[in-house]
Every structure is written in C-alpha cells, then in structure tokens.
C-alpha cells in the first residue's frame, strides 16, 4: 500500500482492529507477558499488610458504572485483601450511582470469606455534599450517616459500635473515578486528620495524584486496570484485571502503531498545490 492511500484509510478498519485486539485475548485467554508489580502498587499492598488484623478501615468507592472496567477490579481486590486479613470495613460512596457497586463487592467478597453484613462490614451508602461529607465525618460519622444503605440505624449495627469519627480508622482506602475522590480525601481528611490513605484511580487521572504519592500523603496508588492487575498479583488472587491485561497490552501497542502509521501517511501526502 502506498503512503498516499494510507491517508484515506477508512476508520472502520481501525475500529475493527481495536475490537479484535480487545476481544480475542479476552475470549481465548492467551498470555502475553507476566504482570510485574510497581512500587506504587506495592505501597498499596504494604499499607494494608502492616495493619494489625481486625483493624477498622474506611473503604470509599467513589465511582459509578462508567468506570467499572478500571475501578471495580481494584475495589474487589482491596475488599478481598481486607477481608482476608479480617479487617472491619466501613464502606461508603460519594457518587450517587456508586452504592450498588459497593454492595456487590462487599456481598461477593463477604460470601467468599464468610463475613456477615453489619458484623464484619457495612455499606453506609451515598450522601450528597462531596467535601462537606468528608469534613462532617471528621466531627461525627453517626451524625453524617444516621442509617446505613439498608435503612438500619447505625447505632444498631455492631460493626459501627465505637465509631465516632476518623480517629477509629487505621486506614482510608479510596477507589476513585474523579471528583469527589482521592484529591478531596487527601485535602479534607489526610491533611487535617492525618489518616493514612491509599488510592485506586482511573488511569487517565493517575498522574494527578503523583505529587501526593511523593509527599507520602498517599502510601500507595493503583492506576487503572494495570494498577489493579499489579495488586491482584500481589494478593495472589488473579481476577478481572489480570484477565484484561493482554487486551490492554495489545490495544496500547496498536494505538502507538497508529500514531506511527498516521505520521507515515502524513509524510506521504503531496503538498497542496497553489491555486
């Protein structure tokens, strides 16, 4: 094919190629390369590992189904890691469509480890107000969330006994898709109440949190599905993210190839003649 004709390439061929490169590895499950955990994922893992068993952890699932491919695997892996270490989980969501996903994660992983809702974990659900909710929880969590997602008063939930504010938590685990999310938790809670924090975020937003990682305000960071896969490797429980890594590897390579090909086509174009 001549370079000139490349420029006229129908974009539907590109769509078809992307579709095949994503679907084939997912469908046939071939394995291209092993997942090597990064220091950021290791920081996330170590932050949970170093907690004493039975500690209470705040798990904020601030995302909705639009970013489910990236956030759900890390949410699931974090819940597995926490429950495997017998942590008490107080979960919430600051995205209106987030609580059902938190429910799914907690019910699924709770069943795997024989944990009971209300005794080992609770989903406080969604509360509007973004940073104000975070700030208000610093004064009183029962006042900010008087009932859990099922409508049960928090005073009647065993896992909420003795939970007043951030002082009772050992760690904040945030799974975030944007605003309100990791940045706001760092600004409102980490800097003010000095609660240790780790975060799992979408790949596109991860660069935003590197300064917090470097200052130690974040102890670990999972960026996108690749970060989730690294974390799955660390907890030795391959799941959704590991399965998606081959598809993502090929898609990334293809996009890089498209940049090169697009520029070759550009070079091959004859300069427009003068009128």
């Amino acid at each position: 094919m001549r370079l000139e004709s490349l420029a006229r390439l129908d974009r539907r061929w590109i769509f078809l190629a992307v579709g095949l490169l994503v679907m084939l590895p997912l469908g046939f499950g071939f394995h291209i390369a092993p997942v090597e955990p990064s220091p950021r994922a290791r920081g996330f893992f170590d932050a949970i590992e170093k907690l004493p068993e039975g500690s209470t952890v705040l798990l904020a699932g601030d995302y909705d189904p639009s970013t489910i491919a990236e956030n759900y695997p890390m949410h699931l892996a974090a819940a597995r890691h926490l429950m495997r270490r017998n942590m008490k989980i107080i979960a919430l969501a600051l995205y209106p469509a987030g609580p059902p996903l938190t429910d799914q994660v907690l019910h699924l992983v709770g069943a795997e480890f024989g944990k009971q809702e209300g005794i080992d974990y609770v989903n406080l659900g969604y509360k509007t107000g973004n940073e104000l909710v975070m700030s208000s929880m610093g004064s009183s969590i029962p006042r900010t969330f008087p009932v859990d997602r099922r409508g049960i008063a928090v005073s009647e939930i065993p896992v909420m006994k003795g939970i007043h504010n951030y002082e009772q938590f050992s760690l904040l685990v945030n799974v975030s898709a944007g605003f309100p999310g990791t940045k706001e938790w760092v600004q409102q809670v980490v800097s003010r109440y000095h609660l240790p924090m780790v975060a799992g975020v979408t790949a596109v937003s991860a660069p935003e949190y590197y300064p917090y990682l470097q200052t130690g305000q974040l102890e670990g960071l999972l960026g996108g599905m690749a970060g989730a896969a690294e974390y799955e490797a660390l907890i030795q429980r391959p799941a959704l993210a590991m399965r998606g890594m081959d598809a993502q590897s090929l898609a990334h390579l293809f996009i890089a190839f498209m940049i090169i090909l697009g520029n070759l086509a550009f070079l091959g174009k004859k300069p427009a003649g003068r009128a």
Partner: protein
C-alpha cells in the same frame, strides 16, 4: 441593601467556616458542624430542583417536537421509570434481588460502561488521524506517549525492562514537576478567589437579574 446583605452574609459565614476549619473549640465546632449539615441538606434539595428543571425543559421540547425529541422522550422514560421502580420497592430497593437492582445491573451499568469503552475506538482513530508530528515539541510528545503507552502495560516489560523504567521516570520527574506547579498555581488561585469572595470583592454571584 440588596447588594450589602448578601456580601455581609458571605463575609460572616466565610470567615466563620475558615475559623471552624482550624479551631476545634466546642463552641466553634458545634455551630460549624451545624452549618455543614445545613449545606448538605441544601445540596440535597438542589437535586429535587434539578429533576424538576430536567422535566420542565424536556417535557416542553417533547411536546413541541423539537429537534431530537425522541431522545428526550427516552431520557424522560428512563428518569420516570427508574424513579417509579425505586419508589414502588420502598426501603427494599437496594436488595440484591430487587427490580431496581435488576435495571441497574442489566441496563444502566452496561450502557454506562459501554459509553466509556467507546473511548478506546476513538482514541485509536484519533491517534491515526490527528497526532501529527509537525515540530520538535510534537516529536518529544510522541516519544513520551509511546514510552508511556507501552511501558504502562506488561508487554512493555516483556519487550525490554528499560521501557517501564523510562515510563516511571517520565511520570515521577517531568510529569510530577509540571503537575505540582499546576497544583500550587491552582491552589493559590482558589485561595485568592476565596478571599475576594469573603471580602466582597468578587461580586459575580450577586450580579444576577434584579441586583442592580
């Protein structure tokens, strides 16, 4: 007075909230907590206004058969249908076996994820059609993009371990420096705007109809 009273309210509440952030004394804390609760309630109430506004605008457009009115009809059907299902199930709407959950899991969730997944197709197409290396800066950007795209996935390490190491360096040094600069600049801007608002120097929030 139409201008002075809102400015005074902003000044008093703004200064109080600033003090409340740093002073943990119970007298300050109690009122500060109450104000936060009021704001949460007010923000919650705006959702009702939002739904009412959405209904008003879209019902009008559907009744007038405005351009793309069938899409607006689908939007209204989704909004009213989801609310009706939720209300009909009362406090059980969040149960795993509820109809609300069924619609969430089988309609809302896949559609929402599909919208995001479409990005992969458009990014690949845009990479081919729009990413033109016309200058030295564009070449640097293309090299950085290539290293990051390949270095961030396991295949990068399989090609050569230098690629993920270079990707990490790019993220942790030049990217981080730029990001920190932007963060500090934005934070200073927010502080300046906050002070201007509290002191009544920023009047845009009170410049609506009838304020003159």
């Amino acid at each position: 007075m139409k201008r002075e009273i809102p400015i005074l309210i902003t000044l008093v509440t703004g200064l109080f909230c600033l003090i409340g952030f740093f002073v943990p004394h119970p007298y300050v804390r109690l009122l500060y907590d109450d104000i936060q609760q009021w704001v949460i309630v007010i923000v919650g109430a705006t959702y009702v206004l939002g739904v009412a506004n959405l209904l008003r605008i879209n019902l009008t457009q559907v009744s007038q058969k405005a351009p793309d009115w069938p899409y607006k009809l689908v939007l209204l059907a989704g909004l009213i249908g989801m609310m009706a299902i939720g209300f009909s199930e009362g406090s059980h709407y969040s149960d795993d076996a509820s109809k609300f959950q069924w619609v969430y899991n089988r309609v809302y969730s896949p559609m929402s994820a599909t919208m995001f997944a479409l990005l992969a197709f458009f990014i690949a197409s845009a990479a081919f059609r729009a990413f033109r290396i016309r200058s030295f800066e564009a070449l640097l950007l293309a090299i950085a993009a290539f290293i990051l795209m390949v270095g961030r996935v396991p295949i990068g390490n399989a090609i050569h371990p230098v690629i993920p190491a270079a990707a990490d360096w790019l993220m942790e040094v030049p990217q981080n420096a730029a990001k920190r600069g932007i963060l500090i600049g934005a934070a200073l801007g927010v502080m300046a705007t906050g002070i201007r608002l509290i002191l009544g120097m920023e009047k845009t929030y009170g410049s609506g109809e009838g304020s003159s």
